[in-house]
Symmetry: C2
Subunit: 465 residues, 2 copies
C-alpha cells in the first residue's frame, strides 16, 4: 500500500508522532526475529467518560487515512538512528525504511456507534513490529475524537432535538489540530455546526458565526455604515435609513424580554417572520447551564458552546488503551493485581444483544471461532465483574465489528461525516432511557461467552495454553 | 513577506484555522473602506491559571512561523466564497487573495517570560482587516502553549531541580497536534524530555522511553532472547546467562525496597554503579502525587507524567483573549458591566519593576508615548482593582515587550527552545517565594500609570477622545 495523496489536505498524523518506546520495542522484536509474527491488538476504554453509561466511537476515518499514508521517510529513519543506540544493526533501519501497512487488517465499530467499556473500538492485526508501532498514533486519533463525540452527544441529549448547537471553541482548543478534531467530532456527536472554517473546508462541517466585540469597538460612531439606506425585503416600498431606526429601537429592546418584543413588533407591523427570528446565546455554557437554557418554554434557539465542548473539562481524556491479545496465533493477556487493568485474551468477536423493544440489552464478547449467537435462543453469559453467569434471550443480535481494512486494502467506502452523525443519533435513540440518562445512569453490561471466560480463567491460573 | 519553506515541516497553523466571524468582520471592514485602517490588538489572559500567581508566556515561535507563512490559497478563497453571502463583491475576494502579513508588527514577551493578568503576551498591529483575521489562530497558538508551559513549571517547582521529569502523555493529548504542542512546551516549562518522537525530530526535545506491557506479554517464555549471554560491562571476565539470573533475582527484588536492594547488591558484588541506577515511576501522577514522590528521602529519580501534564485537568484552557486597543491612532476599549471584562485602551508599554533583592515587585502598564520609569525614582501607580494609588521606588526596571516582527520582517532571531527553557527557569527563580508558592500564592500586582488610568476614566465616562 503506497503512500497516497491525502484528499483532506494532509495525513491525520505522521508515523513519528509516537512514543519512543514503540521504536525500542520494534528493535527488540526485530532482534528476536519476531518482527513478522502475526499479532493482534485491541483498542478500548475501561470506563465510560463523564460518569455516563456510554461513549460514541469516533476517529476511524482518521485512523484509516493514517494507515494508508504510513511510510517512514528517509529523514524519519535518520532521526530514529540518532536516538537509538549507536551500535544498532543498520539492517534494522533498512527494515524500517521498507515498512508500510500492507499487512495490516482493521476491524472496528463504525463511527458514531455506541461503545461500552472493554468492547474493542478497533482490532488491529498484522506483523507484530508494525502493529506495535501503530499504538500511539491510533490512540491519539481515537481517544480524543471519541471523547469529543461523546461530550457533544451528551450536550445534544440535554438540549433536546430542536435547539441549534454550535461549537465555537477553536481558540480554547489544545493546539491547532485539537481544534480541528473538536469541530469535526462535535458535529459527529450531534452539534449542528462550528465556527471553525478549516473544519468546513476539510471536513464539510457547516460553518457559522456572528461577530466579535472588536468589530463593535472598531467603530467610534463617526464612521458611516456602508449602506445606511435599506431596501425593503419584498423589493417594493420606500427605503429606510438604518441608523436612526437602530437608535430608536435600541433603548426599547434592551429593556424588555426579547422574544415578546419580536412578537409585539411582528404583529404591529404585519411582519410575522419577526416572531421567529432566532435568538442565540453563548458565554461559558456547560451541561448545567445548557439544561437551564433548554427548559420548557425557553425562547433561545441557538446555543454556542466553546471551552466546555472542546476541552471536556469534566474529563479531558478518555484513557483508551491498546493491548496485545494474541501473537503467533496464541492468546495473550496482561495479568495484574488490579482487576480493572486485566485484559481479555484472544482474537474476539463482539455482538450487541437487543431486546424485543429494539434497545440494547448487553454487549457480548466471545472468541472469534465461536458461532454467532442466534436471536431467540437462550444464552448463558458471564457479565464482567460478576461472580455468576446469567442467561439472556435476545430478540435480535447485531455483530459490532466490521472489516474496514484487509491486508492494507480498504474493503468498503467509509461513511461520510454526515452519515456517521445521523447513525450516532439513531444509535442513541435506540438506547433505553435508563442507559441514556446522564446521571446517574444504569450501568450497561458487557459479558463474556463461556468459552472466553474459561480461557481467562485458564490463563489467570498460569496454565499452559 | 512571501510564504516560505517551513523549517519545522509545516506551518504552525493554516489561515482558515479561524472562526467564520473573523471573515464576516473582514468583509464588514472592507465594505466600510476600513480594511487598511491602522489597528492594534493585545493578546492577554485575565486570570493566572491553576489558582497560581503566574503563567509562563509561550507560543511566540509558532505565531511567528504562522505569520511568515500566512497566505490564503486559491482553494481557501474559493471556500470562503462558498460560505459568504452569494452577492458578496468579487473584489473582496481579490483583496483576500493578495493578503499577507507584510504590514504586521508584533511586540511580545519573550518565550518563557513570567506573565501576569492583563499584561499583553502579544501586541499585534497592522491593517485592521489582517490583524482581525489573525485573532483565532494566534489565540489557538498562544493559549495552550502557555497553559502547558505553566503547568510544567508548576510540576517542576513541586519536584525540585533534581528529579528528571518526563512528559509521556501523547496518547492522552487532545488531537495529534495537541500532543506535539504539549511535548514542546512542557519541555520549555521545565521538563527534561518527552516520549514523543516527533517533538524530538521537529523541535529538538530530548526523547526518552522504556517499554510497554505488550512487549512483555508478547513473549510467552518459550522464545529465546536474542543475546542470552551477557558480556561483563568492563569487557573482561566470564559471560553470564541472563535468563536464570533474572529468574533468581525476580522473586527477591519484588519483595524488597528497591534502592536498599541496589545498595546491598552493589556492595556485595563490588558494583558501586548499581547504587545509583535510576528508579523511574509513572501512572496517573498529578501535583499531589508528585509532591509525595518528591519528599525528602525519596529514592525516585525519574518521574513520567502523562494525562495531568498534557490535558491540564485542573484547568484545560487558559482563556486568553485578543482585544482591540486602538484603531486609526485612536484608543478603543470594551465597556461592560463586568469590570473583569473591561479592557485597557490605547497602545501601551509594559515594564517590570524589581526590588533591591532582584525579585519583581509589580508590572506597570502605561501609554506607549510616556517616558519609561527610572530605577531609583518614586512612581505613583494605580494597582488594578484598587481604589487608591500607591507609590513604588523600583531598584531596577525591565521593559517587558520586545519588537520581534516589524512590518512583516523578523527583527532578531528567536531564541531556541532550550534557551527559552533556561530563561523560564531563571525567571521563576527570581520570583519571590510568596509569588512562586503554588497555593495559596500572594497575588502579583499589575498597575496602571496615572496617564493610562486617566484615559480609562475618560473613556468609561463616555467623554469624547
Amino acid at each position: 500500500m503506497a503512500a497516497e495523496q491525502d484528499p483532506e489536505g494532509r495525513a491525520a498524523a505522521r508515523p513519528l508522532l509516537t512514543d519512543l518506546y514503540q521504536v525500542t520495542m520494534a528493535l527488540g522484536y526485530w532482534r528476536a526475529g519476531r518482527a513478522s509474527a502475526p499479532a493482534e491488538f485491541e483498542l478500548f476504554f475501561r470506563q465510560s467518560p463523564f460518569g455516563g453509561a456510554f461513549a460514541l466511537a469516533a476517529g476511524l476515518r482518521d485512523c484509516v487515512r493514517f494507515l494508508r499514508a504510513f511510510r517512514l521517510l528517509d529523514a524519519d529513519v535518520q532521526f530514529l538512528a540518532s536516538v537509538l543506540p549507536p551500535d544498532t544493526d543498520p539492517a534494522f533501519f533498512e527494515h524500517l525504511r521498507a515498512l508500510d501497512c500492507s499487512g495490516v487488517t482493521v476491524r472496528a465499530l463504525p463511527e458514531g456507534s455506541l461503545a461500552f467499556p472493554g468492547v474493542p473500538l478497533l482490532q488491529v492485526s498484522g506483523p507484530l513490529l508494525v502493529v506495535q508501532l501503530l499504538e500511539t498514533p491510533l490512540l491519539c486519533l481515537v481517544s480524543y475524537a471519541s471523547l469529543i463525540a461523546t461530550n457533544a452527544a451528551r450536550l445534544r441529549l440535554i438540549a433536546g432535538p430542536e435547539k441549534r448547537l454550535l461549537e465555537m471553541g477553536l481558540r480554547r482548543a489544545q493546539g491547532p489540530d485539537g481544534g480541528l478534531t473538536a469541530s469535526t467530532y462535535s458535529y459527529l456527536g450531534g452539534f449542528d455546526g462550528s465556527s471553525n472554517v478549516l473544519a468546513g473546508q476539510l471536513r464539510g462541517v457547516p460553518v457559522v458565526g456572528t461577530l466579535a466585540h472588536s468589530f463593535v469597538t472598531s467603530f467610534s460612531g463617526k464612521e458611516v455604515p456602508p449602506d445606511p439606506m435599506l431596501a425593503p425585503a419584498a423589493g417594493q416600498g420606500p427605503r429606510v435609513d438604518l441608523t436612526p431606526r437602530v437608535e430608536a429601537w435600541l433603548e426599547r429592546v434592551c429593556a424588555q424580554e426579547i422574544r415578546a418584543l419580536f412578537r409585539t413588533t411582528g404583529a404591529q407591523f404585519q411582519a410575522p417572520w419577526l416572531e421567529s427570528v432566532p435568538i442565540a446565546v453563548s458565554n461559558n455554557i456547560d451541561e448545567e447551564e445548557l439544561a437551564r437554557l433548554s427548559q420548557q418554554g425557553s425562547e433561545v434557539n441557538v446555543i454556542g458552546i466553546g471551552t466546555s465542548v472542546v476541552t471536556c473539562p469534566r474529563q479531558p481524556s478518555l484513557g483508551c488503551v491498546y493491548k496485545l491479545v494474541s501473537v503467533g496465533g496464541q492468546p495473550r493477556m496482561k495479568l495484574t493485581e488490579d482487576p480493572e487493568k486485566q485484559t481479555l485474551p484472544g482474537s474476539k468477536a463482539a455482538f450487541r444483544l437487543l431486546g424485543s423493544d429494539g434497545s440494547p440489552l448487553l454487549d457480548l464478547l466471545q472468541l472469534a471461532e465461536e458461532p454467532a449467537p442466534q436471536a431467540g435462543q437462550e444464552l448463558r453469559v458471564w457479565p464482567r465483574g460478576a461472580q455468576e453467569a446469567c442467561t439472556v434471550r435476545p430478540a435480535r443480535v447485531e455483530p459490532l465489528l466490521r472489516l474496514w481494512v484487509q491486508q492494507g486494502q480498504l474493503c468498503e467506502p467509509l461513511p461520510s461525516l454526515a452519515e456517521s452523525r445521523a447513525f450516532a443519533q439513531r444509535s442513541l435513540s435506540q438506547l433505553s432511557p435508563a442507559h441514556r440518562r446522564l446521571e446517574p445512569p444504569a450501568g450497561y453490561q458487557v459479558a463474556l461467552s463461556e468459552k472466553l471466560r474459561a480461557l481467562v480463567q485458564r490463563l489467570s491460573a498460569g496454565a499452559p495454553l
